[in-house]
Amino acid sequence: MNTPDHLTNDLLVRALDDELSDSENALVESHLPGCEHCGQNYAALRLLSGRIESVIAAATPEALEGDRDLLAERMETVCIQPAAVKNYRRAVRWIVPIAAALLLALFIPRLAHLSKQNQIAASQYRPGATLEVDGETFIPLPYSNPDLPMSAPHIVEMQVPVASLASAGLVFEPVSNGPAVSERSVLADVLVGLDGQPLGVHVLSVE
């Protein structure tokens, strides 16, 4: 059917849909007026396309009067939520594992360096010195940079290896437990400074 003397269906359909290149368009415009066969084919495709549109337009879903208001209300809820840290944590739940992995890559080497020094029990480390951010109390970590402002805290909930915390002076069980210590982790909020380094930690649960 698609002999060289006639336009292909591909060209005719794309002509209907205004999807032709300039050269194709020129070909169709020059051929169509003088070819009865292609003219009829084009008309048939256009009629069929119109009928398909009618069939689909007939499938009008039932009117849903309240849905626009519901959508507006739900979007409003998103807008007026205070930028509280807990909401932020909820919003970034899916990126927390990724963030945790990246953070630990920075976190552990520095702690490992410190672990070679004397380990200090949590109760002994800077007694009384805590960081208060959005009502949450954090135990400052040894390498916190006191010069950086605390006005834009970033808190990430993550699993922190007990071994890392022990290196930072937060001991949860006797160091003599050996290998078992390094395998455990605790759920903690880690306060991340503007330089991307952890400033403090708030242990949420110890299993």
Binding site: D10, P61, L71
Partner: protein, 180 residues
């Protein structure tokens, strides 16, 4: 010319938000989008939920500073994926999308007589059935095309190449032409 009241002004400024943009899209696209979802084989309630979810995601997308060059295609893609997930989850056992869809209302007809009207309805039913015989990709392409999407937009929604979209539309039309 009277200046708007202060309250109105504040309200207007608030309304220039992503929320307003989403509602503009909603007014324009929700009906075609629901038609598309119906033709994917979803029931009315699922269509309703997916449309809501799609526009909420659009809002989040805009709030997050996402690309806004073609929000219509973005919206259809999200709705399409949500519909596919929904169908996979519930293993929809419906016999066909068009049977439900066309039952939702009478087709528009210019028929002047009862006989013409009957023939028009008969043609609609035949076309609906014929569309069910198309491949999923052909049907999806044809329905998106009927909603005014360009080939590159359809390609974006269905994750196909533009040439494949053109091919699906052409083959789909050829099959329907044969049947009718």
């Amino acid at each position: 010319m009277a200046l708007p009241a202060a309250g109105w002004d504040v309200e207007y400024l608030e309304d220039t938000s992503p929320r307003r943009l989403v509602l503009e899209h909603y007014d324009r696209e929700q009906l075609p989008l629901r038609r598309y979802l119906l033709f994917l084989g979803l029931d009315q309630e699922s269509c309703r939920e997916i449309v809501q979810e799609s526009f909420l995601r659009l809002h989040q997308h805009i709030l997050a500073g996402g690309d806004q060059t073609n929000l219509r295609a973005w919206l259809y893609r999200v709705a399409h994926n949500l519909a596919r997930n929904s169908q996979t989850a519930f293993h929809s056992s419906r016999t066909g999308p068009l049977a439900d869809a066309t039952a939702a209302g009478d087709p528009p007809s210019a028929a002047a007589s009862v006989e013409d009207e009957f023939l028009a309805k008969e043609r609609t039913v035949r076309l609906s059935r014929a569309m069910q015989q198309l491949s999923t990709a052909q049907r999806e392409c044809l329905v998106l095309r009927s909603q005014g999407l360009k080939y590159r937009e359809i390609a974006n929604v269905l994750n196909l190449s533009t040439s494949t979209v053109g091919e699906n539309i052409q083959r789909g039309l050829e099959k329907l032409k044969e049947v009718l």
